[in-house]
């Protein structure tokens, strides 16, 4: 690994350091804008993951694993889905069984039924985004990091 570290390129590193925050900001925009326009949780999650891929490509995979260890992205992938399914479940619980599963209007965020529904959809999009990001990263590691993982550990 030491030989690779010497090959680091200052231009690429600096450029990616500047780009990554903007990619992530754009990803968050795509996730939150999903209910109103093109985009949504899946697309936003992929964009967010791609910022992470850039980090791994520029620095190496060991550095990438330090930033986001396997335990963290496994937890994230299931947390996202738990948010997704849990919001649906909340609508049954908070309406005392009056509302159906996924009927977000009954979650009392605000006093407006339609506003609640839109906020519920936003929450679901965030859940989807987190899961997609984590699963994309895990696929990337599975494809890229098999040999290095064996040598490293």
């Amino acid at each position: 690994m030491n030989s690779k570290k010497e090959e680091e390129n200052v231009v690429i590193e600096t450029a990616s350091r500047i780009m990554i925050p903007f990619i992530q900001l754009f990803a968050l925009y795509v996730i939150t804008h999903g209910a109103l326009g093109p985009g949504g949780g899946f697309q936003g999650g992929v964009v967010f993951a791609s910022s992470y891929f850039l980090y791994i490509v520029v620095f190496n995979i060991i550095e990438g694993k330090k930033r986001l260890p396997e335990s963290v992205y496994t937890t994230l992938s299931s947390t996202g889905l738990c948010i997704y399914a849990g919001v649906g479940l909340l609508s049954i619980i908070l309406s005392f069984g009056m509302a159906q599963y996924l009927n977000y209007g009954f979650i009392p965020f605000t006093s407006h039924f339609e506003k609640n529904r839109s906020l519920g959809i936003d929450l679901v999009e965030i859940g989807v985004g987190i899961t997609v990001m984590a699963v994309m990263v895990s696929i990337f590691f599975d494809l890229a990091g098999k040999e290095k993982k064996d040598k490293g550990e």
Binding site: S78, Q100, Y101, L102
Partner: protein
């Protein structure tokens, strides 16, 4: 107003999904606890399914609108007596396999416990979803969920299992693609995806070639998924090399769920009038007859026990599809309509579940795969061998076992439509069943272990498998007899009669 029970269909799917994810996270911190989460979830699901059946029988079908959107636009879950019946079989068999898996999985897949239970729970979530949904595209999505989990579970052992899994992956994907094409054709004609809505919108287009093509796509796609005779090639390898409890799930319920989808699509979407326009079900009978003969003959030639059982599954899918094929013409009460088919779905789940779990027990204890190695096994593992024999005589069809009842009713249905060729085929296939199961029983009980060559490990007095593995095997094998008597006593017939009434089959009162 929605009562408590009406929330249960979605909760069964949702808690299954939740528990799969929880197992994944909890497994990181505590490897041992995931089995208990798995058991608790399945137990909860099983109790819920009993509540659902009770509610459906008392108050009629449950319609559940997801997110409060009305059916033609939103997704709807519909539970009638057919779903509720299939769901109970599915969850009961899953529960038995789950209890069995605790000791077995450490032996078969060391160190893969967390991912195994996550995938197993996802498989169950997919199967429950297919059973409960009332939306045809939703059905496709759940079919993909359980298929993908199944591909991964079959491949879990590695090496030769990878090839088996890959074959299944390719053929299974073609099957689901055909199913999706069928959905696309129907959507292009009607613009609806809801099962009930489709059945209302379709009748004016019954002469349309697109609708007929869609039906053919459904038949071919689902035949691949249910391993009907010409498309069965993926099944023997996949069932032979999967872990034992997954083999039991695959053979006992997964291919039957595809049959359920076939029944649902042909009777709920296309309805009886369409099926009477085309001679599809008559052709299906002959294909099923070929499957019965072919599966039984191939089973005789096998040396590997699990492969033999897999070919026997091909033959049993033949029985179920023959019964489905006869359902249009046979009307007399105990064996009319879909009764024998639904009966055999339950019976096959019990018998094949028991046989595959017993075969897994032989592998667990002494790594015995081939029938010729079973010499003198009955003395070492008396209970497992006894359970195996009970399930085997049930497959052969000796009264009062479950296999006898379903064979009897299929034969009675064939006699009713005066097709004596089918009767002959069923009797011949019973003889063939006897041929291949007797070989195993003879080796286990009659042949003594060759002296001097102490082949497998220690020769203690008791080499019986752990209690956790023995209980499900004994439970399933005793149910093979008990359920046979229950069927003959016509206790569960009212449920099946409701199904027939719903589809307009059987005798019109």
């Amino acid at each position: 107003m929605t009562s408590f029970v009406e929330h249960l269909p979605i909760l069964i799917i949702a808690i299954s999904l939740f528990s799969a994810l929880t197992i994944l996270v909890v497994g990181w911190f505590n490897n041992r606890s995931c089995i208990f989460i798995f058991w608790l979830t399945l137990l909860a699901q099983f109790i819920m399914s009993l509540f659902i059946l009770n509610h459906v029988l008392a108050y009629g079908p449950i319609h559940y609108w997801l997110g409060g959107w009305k059916p033609p636009w939103g997704i709807e879950l519909v539970v009638d007596s057919l779903n509720a019946y299939i769901l109970i079989i599915l969850l009961f068999l899953s529960l038995a396999c789950a209890i069995y898996s605790k000791s077995n999985i450490e032996h078969e897949l060391p160190g893969k416990r967390v991912s195994f239970y996550t995938l197993f729970q996802l498989l169950i979530a997919g199967l429950c979803g297919v059973t409960l949904t009332g939306d045809i595209f939703n059905m496709f999505v759940f079919i993909e969920i359980f298929s993908i989990s199944a591909y991964a579970l079959i491949a879990a052992r590695g090496k030769i299992a990878l090839k088996a899994s890959f074959t299944y992956l390719i053929l299974g994907s073609i099957g689901t693609c055909f199913f999706l094409l069928g959905i696309g054709f129907l959507y292009s004609i009607t613009g609806s995806l809801n099962l009930h809505d489709l059945s209302i919108l379709l009748p004016p287009f019954y002469d349309n070639k697109v609708v007929k093509a869609a039906f053919v796509f459904f038949i071919v796609g689902l035949s691949i998924k249910m391993a009907l005779f010409p498309f069965h090639t993926w099944l023997p390898d996949a069932h032979a090399f999967a872990p034992a409890e997954i083999s039991a799930m695959l053979s006992g319920i997964m291919i039957e769920i595809s049959t359920y989808v076939f029944i649902r699509v042909s009777f709920s979407v296309f309805t009886l009038e369409f099926l009477k326009l085309l001679p599809v079900f008559d052709i299906l009978c002959w294909v099923a007859v070929a499957a019965i003969l072919m599966g039984s003959v191939m089973a005789i030639t096998q040396v590997n026990l699990k492969r033999m059982l897999a070919y026997s599954s091909v033959a049993n899918m033949g029985y179920i599809m023959l019964a489905v094929g006869l359902s249009l013409s046979a009307v007399e009460s105990p064996w009319g309509g879909l009764n024998p088919a639904l009966m055999h779905i339950a019976n096959h789940a019990l018998m094949k579940g028991c046989l595959f779990l017993a075969a897994g027990a032989f592998i667990y204890k002494a790594n015995l795969w081939n029938i010729t190695e079973f010499r003198g096994l009955a003395k070492k593992m008396p209970y497992t061998c006894a359970a195996f024999v009970i399930a085997a005589i049930s497959m052969i069809g000796i009264p009062p076992s479950v296999g006898f009842v379903s064979k009897l009713y299929i034969i009675m249905a064939s006699i009713e439509i005066k097709n004596y060729f089918f009767v002959a085929v069923l009797l011949i296939s019973s003889l063939l069943n006897l041929a291949y199961f007797w070989r195993v029983i003879e080796t286990m009980y009659m042949k003594h272990e060759e002296g001097g060559r102490s082949s497998h490990g220690s020769h203690g007095t008791s080499e019986e498998i752990p209690l956790g593995m023995l209980i499900p095997i004994l439970l399933l094998s005793s149910l093979c007899i008990v359920m046979g008597i229950v069927w003959l006593g016509k206790v569960p017939i009212p449920v099946l009669d409701q199904v027939n009434l719903m589809f307009g089959l059987g005798k019109v009162p």
